[in-house]
Each structure stands twice: as C-alpha cells, then as structure tokens.
C-alpha cells in the first residue's frame, strides 16, 4: 500500500476554503508534497463543490457540481484527484456514489453537462482521495520516518477528523476493509502519519464528533459549546495540540475557542494545527513555510519550546 506510484502525481482540488480561511492548509499541503517528492496538479477552472448550501437546496445540483470537477480531472488525464477539505472530499465521493447508483442523478448530470458544454462524467473514471490517503499511501509511515529531520517527539496530539471524513459509510467503500485500510468508526491515518513523524498521539474519544460547523452562524452558542467540549476533552486527554485535516473544522475550532473565552469565559490553552503543518515542520520546513503564522491559534511559543519554532 505505501509507496503506491499511482498517488505520486495526482490532480489537486483545493476547494474554496483553501483559497481563503484555510490558506495555511493549502500552503502546508503543497509544501509537504514538494518536500516528499509528490506532485499536485491543480484542476483547471474548478468550481465550488456545492458544500452544504447547494446540497441542502438540491442535492442533484450538488452532484453535478462535483461531477464537473471530476470531468475536468479526467479531461486533464488524471485518474485520481486529491481533496484536502473534508467537505470537498465528501461531496466528490458522494457524487461518485450517486452517479453509480441513482438514475435521476445521472440524468441531471447528463443534462447539465451537455448544457454547460463539457464531457459528462461517468462513475468509476476518477478516484477521489483525501490528503491523508495521499501521504499514507504514497509515502507511508516508513517513508516518513526516513525523512524526518525534526522529530515531533514530546508533542502530544489529539487527532480530530471531524464528521465528514468517514460519514456516511456507504460512500467510502474503500474504508473498513481490514488491516491497512482506514476505519470509519476509529479513523487512524492522521494518527499513523503523525506518530511516524515522532508525535505522541493521545487516546481521544471525540475524534469524529460533531463540531457544530453546519450551525456556526445560525446557532453559534451550540457550536461554541460543542467546540469547547472537544477542546477541553483533548486537554483532559493530555494533548498539547489538536491536529486537524479539514479547513472547516480547523476554522471552527479556532474561532469558537476564542468565542468560548469571550462569551462563556472558558479559556482553553490547547493549540490547533493542521496535520500538514506538523508534518511539514517534522520534515524540516520552517513554521513560516507551513503557514503557522496564519493560524488564529498561536502555537509559536509551544513549537519553539519543542524545538520546532
């Protein structure tokens, strides 16, 4: 599985968040890829995946939007697209599933693709992977250990995957396939990658728990309480850092950490970093190179203390 040449050069779908609030994730993902000798080729003229907003109004349109990105990927000659955002990853996988199982989705996709003047995407032509799959399957833990220059030793990490990386189970047929595959109930790829980079992962019970992201604007207080609970649980488990692999989760954790202090008077000291930032620093990249200075959660003193500043 590790060392899979198929994933050495893949199409890249950053999605909208990585061009805005998740810029540090984009930056660190690209920097890590470069350091590991992996190529990312951004999809030309990509569009929004439909996120939650379009899906909540018409899921067939959402399927089409993701199908268009998959169509462009195929037209560019790629059979694999990597999406580092859980929302984008989820929607591409869902489109793949719907186009394979739902006649109405196929019909709408045919109609809109024809109207838009591009090739109609057919299920099975492109494999969607997450940034975690990309690193785990192309480089693997042994490959990471060989390349580590600044071990993450001494950093205790609670790995937070969020809810969309593994749900709903049926759109991720490659998961839960036994040893080596990702688990939908206890995901571990981020744990594996960061452990290989020297980090000490803590046993964290809320790694796939809801952060209230969908209601961050309409019901901010619930979102703040959910995030606060995630952060306090991570601290209670002994973590210094919550590692994230999704820009929405990451931003939600950062923003509601600040809001919890302001609105609820509850301060948590745990730092929030993208897993690509931690991995990048372990590979010898500077904190600035992986965008640590762009995070709201200021981890610089912790990283300096651990010899990674």
């Amino acid at each position: 599985m590790a060392g899979d040449m198929k994933y050495k050069k893949v199409a890249y779908y950053p999605g909208c968040a990585l061009e805005g609030s998740g810029h540090a994730y984009n930056r660190s993902t690209k920097a890590v890829g470069k350091e590991l000798g992996l190529d990312l080729v951004e999809i030309k003229n990509w569009n929004c995946c439909g996120a939650m907003e379009v899906k909540n109004i018409d899921p067939k349109i959402q399927t089409y939007l993701s199908a268009r990105n998959l169509s462009i990927t195929e037209e560019m000659g790629f059979d694999t697209v990597m999406a580092p955002c859980n929302g984008c990853y989820h929607n591409l996988k869902k489109a793949e599933y719907d186009l394979d199982h739902d006649e109405t989705s196929k019909e709408v996709n045919n109609r809109l693709s024809s109207k838009a003047g591009h090739k109609t995407y057919e299920a099975g032509k492109v494999e969607t992977i997450h940034a975690l799959d990309w690193i785990k399957k192309s480089i693997g833990e042994d490959g990471i250990r060989e390349r580590v220059k600044n071990s993450l030793q001494g950093i205790k990490v609670a790995n937070y995957y969020g809810c969309m990386y593994t749900r709903p189970r049926h759109i991720f047929p490659e998961k839960d396939q036994g040893p080596g595959s990702e688990s939908t109930s206890k995901p571990h790829y981020m744990d594996d990658i960061l452990a290989a980079a020297g980090a000490e992962n803590v046993d964290f019970p809320l790694k796939t728990a809801c952060c209230g992201g969908a209601h961050t604007l309409s019901d901010s207080d619930t979102s703040t309480k959910l995030v606060l609970n995630i952060l306090t649980a991570a601290e209670a488990c002994g973590a210094d850092v919550v590692a994230t692999e999704c820009p929405t989760c990451h931003t939600g954790l950062e923003m509601h950490q600040i809001r919890a202090e302001k609105v609820l008077g509850r301060k948590t000291n745990i730092k929030i970093l993208y897993f690509t930032q931690l991995l990048g620093m372990a590979l010898g990249l500077s904190a600035k190179k992986v965008g640590v200075n762009e995070n709201f959660s200021d981890a610089r003193s912790l990283l300096k203390e651990k010899g990674l500043g």
Partner: protein
C-alpha cells in the same frame, strides 16, 4: 443519582458537575458514576425518540441499550449517525471505568467519559433546538428533500 427524570439541560449540568468534581469525590464512586453516565446517555436518546413520536426500545444491541437506541434513532435518518461514535465512546468509557475502578487515573477516565456524555447532550440538544430550520448536521439530508427529488431546480435550469 438516577438519570430517569433529567432533561437534556439537566444532564449537561450534571456532566459539568462531574467534570468539575475533585478526584477524591469521583474515585470512590467510580462504578456508580459509570452506570450514571451510561444512563444519562440513554435518556438523551430517549428524549430525541420521544420528541420524534417514537417509543424508545428496551432492546439491547451488542449488549447495550444505548447502541440499540442509537440504531432506532438513526433508522431513516442518516444524519443521526453523526453521533454514532459518540454513543460507542460512551459505552467504551463505561466499560473502561468498570474494567478497573481502582485505577490510579480513574478520576480522569470518569471526567473524559462525562465529556463524551456532554457532547451527546449538546449534539442532540442542538438538533432538537434546530428542528424546523433543517437538519443539524453537515451530512444531513437536504431541507427540501421531497422537492429536490423532483429535481425542480435542475428542471428550471433547463427551461
């Protein structure tokens, strides 16, 4: 303490109290607290089911009523799977406490278990509050699923 008559808000407050309690209050009552935390988790799901007009099951799945209640609530409602692992973690922490109630770090285990229950309370409480505004979940079914099935929007674009 029985969780039988507690509301979700009261469960949240009870979880807060357990989390804030000193080690010496928690450790001697580890087994009772394990049972209480599991019972509170069941009450949270019962509250959801009753609000949805269902009769909460008394069955057990994998040896636990909580898992059976989750399965009942998730039937036909995929967004409810967003708390599947939280329910399983509640069972896991119950078992972990009972596995070695005299463990040196038992108070910490109880507190983390209470945080799991608090998360369940917050999630289900949020879902109940937001009902009518749409599903409280990123993986939810769409608000206008019935309309969407007719692909009205797609039809409109075609027109």
């Amino acid at each position: 303490m029985s969780a039988e008559r507690l509301t979700i808000d009261e469960i949240e407050q009870r979880a807060d109290a357990i989390i804030a309690a000193p080690d010496e209050d928690l450790a001697p009552r580890a087994e009772a607290l394990a049972a209480e935390l599991l019972s509170m988790s069941e009450v949270i799901l019962e509250t959801w089911l009753v609000a949805k007009g269902q009769v909460p099951t008394d069955d057990k799945h994998e040896g636990f009523r909580l898992i059976a209640l989750h399965r009942q609530a998730a039937k036909g409602n995929p967004s409810f799977n967003a708390c599947r692992e939280t329910c399983r973690e509640a069972v896991y922490h119950h078992n972990l406490i009972l596995h070695d109630p005299a463990a040196d770090d038992i108070a910490r285990t109880i507190r983390v278990g209470a945080m799991v229950v608090r998360h369940l309370a917050l999630f289900i409480g949020g879902k109940l509050q937001a009902d009518g505004l749409g599903e409280f979940c990123c993986s939810s079914r769409p608000i206008r699923q019935a309309d969407a099935a007719k692909t009205e929007t797609a039809g409109a674009m075609e027109a």
